[in-house]
Amino acid sequence: MAESLYGPVPETFPRWLLRHARERGGQPAMREKDLGIWQSWTWQQVADEVRALACGLIELGFQRGQNLAVVGDNRPRMYMMMTAVQCLGGVPLPLYQDAVADELLFVLLDAEVRFLFVEDQEQVDKVLEILPQLPALRHLFYDDARGMRHYTQAFIHDVRELLAMGRLHNANHPDLLDSEIERGVGDDVSVMLYTSGTTGRPKGVRLTHHAFISAARGGAEFDRLTADEEILSYLPMAWVGDHLFSFAQALVTGFTINCPESAETVMTDMREIGPTYYFAPPRVFENLLTQVMIRMEDASAIKQKMFHFFMAVARRCGAEILDGRPVPLGDRLLYAMGNWLVYGPLKNVLGMSRIRVAYTAGAAIGPDLFRFYRSIGINLKQLYGQTETCAYVCLQPDGQIKFDSVGKPAPGVEVRIADNGEILVKGPMLLQEYYKRPEATAEALDADGYFMTGDAGLFDDDGHLKIIDRAKDVGKLANGAMYAPNYIENKLKFFPYIKEAVVFGAGRERVCAFINIDLGAVGNWAERRGLAYSGYTDLAGKTEVQGLIQECLEKVNHELLAEGALADSQIHRFLILHKELDPDDDELTRTRKVRRNFVAEKYAVLIEALYSDRRSQFIETAVKFEDGRQGKVAADLAILEAKSFAVSGRATR
């Protein structure tokens, strides 16, 4: 990969930017919808603005190796600031924009942040709240000036002031920035991303230019991405996936990133842009499908008939046609007609008409969901990776798609399975270190330089990697049978009515579960049955809803029975939680993964009740509202039994 189409490969991201400014200076690099109109920046404009930002930072005394934190929604200037920091040999540190002040505090202290760039007043207020605990903070920049007129503190600046300062500085020292960029090498750290912390406090993962450029180029070549791709940048900038797709790959291939107008307008913006390359976690695909299904139920009888008829055709042959496998002529004709009548318009509504490659990762995707998108002709694939590997370990090659695997090792990546089933990976994309945590770095890398992912997996006969669970979560039931909680939870979450599930069973005789219903789907279900409810807690307590969930559980029990090794993991008793698990209450991580141990501790009394003979249990829980206030939710939860099926030759009840 040393040579590219255009000659030697630039070593750092700022050099990539300069190259695009030179080679395609007039092409759009970024777009943002503002005041109802898509505004664009060409590569030349981006390069100029990055230059001004970087020079402004020099003027304010930014030093090589310092960290600059970025907090906000996906905005062009936020991405530009990251490149500007890289120009100066600094390390950008994107943070989750919905993190509460306390969470920000931890990272800002850990990374000794002196320069901070935030989006708007809301984020500034958050920083001011924790300001007394941040003695190192020197400068705070904001992008959106709304409501900022009365903030007179000397260290708070409008980013436009920084730009103006930088332009002046650049005019006086026109060569300084270029020499700074020249000093940067591939082994410099390009970004620091904090891991979501399913276990303990977050760790700062330091990744080099070389690592991210290798991962970005490897992926781009694998999917034959070109400078003509369009991508919608709407996932949190702090997440490794967004950094790979919206930052690294955009800079490496020269394609255009599009920033939505606001978090609520993503669907409309997606329709307007029609991305060709798309990434979304499974829950986004799931929400889209749920919306489609809900709207279909309100459609006229003829439309419903047509939809269901052609969806059956698509289920039969759509995925095969996409994979280029042989399909009878009759089906092909029907599919073409369906494409004209149903799939085409549907893809158009979803904004997916132009998608060439779509990826999902981060959690397991339901087989029905996965097949739905593929069957209507969207090339949805799965990938596997983590923050420590630039989200680049395995990719599914076109035409070799399985819903239960994550594909083959990506170009340049070695994958090995350890004796305990843990997945080990090695390649240029590995992390340099955890920031200030040498012991954690040493623990994560083994003697041969393999990164220990902590996931348990196995290769199937075609060389595809299959992820079972977190290595440390794979446990045993009291009778010694294998017990993989995430695997069961994912099966549960595949039902549209179940939003979250937490199962318990390690070291116990039987498996029990907490369920969170999906307010949208179950609410709709209730409305159609004329069931009145006032909110989540009320709906979750309805006997009818309990019956609905019970049916889902029994189907899962049936599936588990069929899996042999997991037959003993059938769920015996369950309850529907009175509140939704929420990152603000520390029950989920910011990427919405369940923090199992925390939940187990917080709701210990419920677990105890599940494993007793009780039929109900009273619980009162403190909740944090979005504005930071505290409240309490209390309920008397019914504890229910799900029918389990006898494992051959043994009675289960």
Binding site: G36, I37, R146, S262, T265, T268, D627
Partner: protein
Amino acid sequence: MSRQIGEVILDLKNVSLSFGGVKALTDISFDVHEHEIRAIIGPNGAGKSSMLNVINGVYRPQQGEIVLRGTRFSRMNPYKAAQAGISRTFQNIALFKGMSVLDNIMTGRNLKIRSNLLQQAFWWGPARREELAHRAKVEEVIDFLEIQHIRKTPVGRLPYGLQKRVDLGRALAMEPSILLLDEPMAGMNVEEKQDMCRFILDVNDQFGTTIVLIEHDMAVVMDISDRVVVLDYGKKIGDGVPEEVRTNPDVISAYLGASH
């Protein structure tokens, strides 16, 4: 705060209004300073909405006069009020339910549109430029109120809280110097109220708009208003900064329902 309360912009002198034998307002006088947030409070039927309707000329008082920026109006009407820069929102939202949010807010620009029907029908030359300029203004309002996601949604499909916001948006599209808000937070939940408060304060702060509002939620009124007028049975029983009004014995008895 950089916002500076200015001179008297609106002065109501001895206003009395009656419908047949019912006296809605009796000899009410109060003034509104430029850039201030002035609240009118009072129990149900106290005459608050009537007061607002007198200010923008929907009702004509039998007695009294309105002085707006030094000009006396003994016969105000809604058209004159609008031309003088007064816009308002309604207690029971009066939007065009079948039209999109964008079009509804666009109607707020109506008074400022100069091109005629024919020019607009052909979307020609000046009419086109004019519409684009108005649309840009409307987009600023949409951005300000953070309703980008419902730009093209018919108003009738929106929840109540958002409809109220659109109602405010239409009033703002006029770029008013005085904004009359008739119970902007009635029927909202806590979160919607907080949002609405923030928008009202931001309008006042960023555009310097003078705001006269009627509101039932005492906590909100005391928090955001500079001065408060209290009406009861059509009479003024209190006037002053929130602390004064809070401790005024007449106000306390009116609100606690003591004998009158």
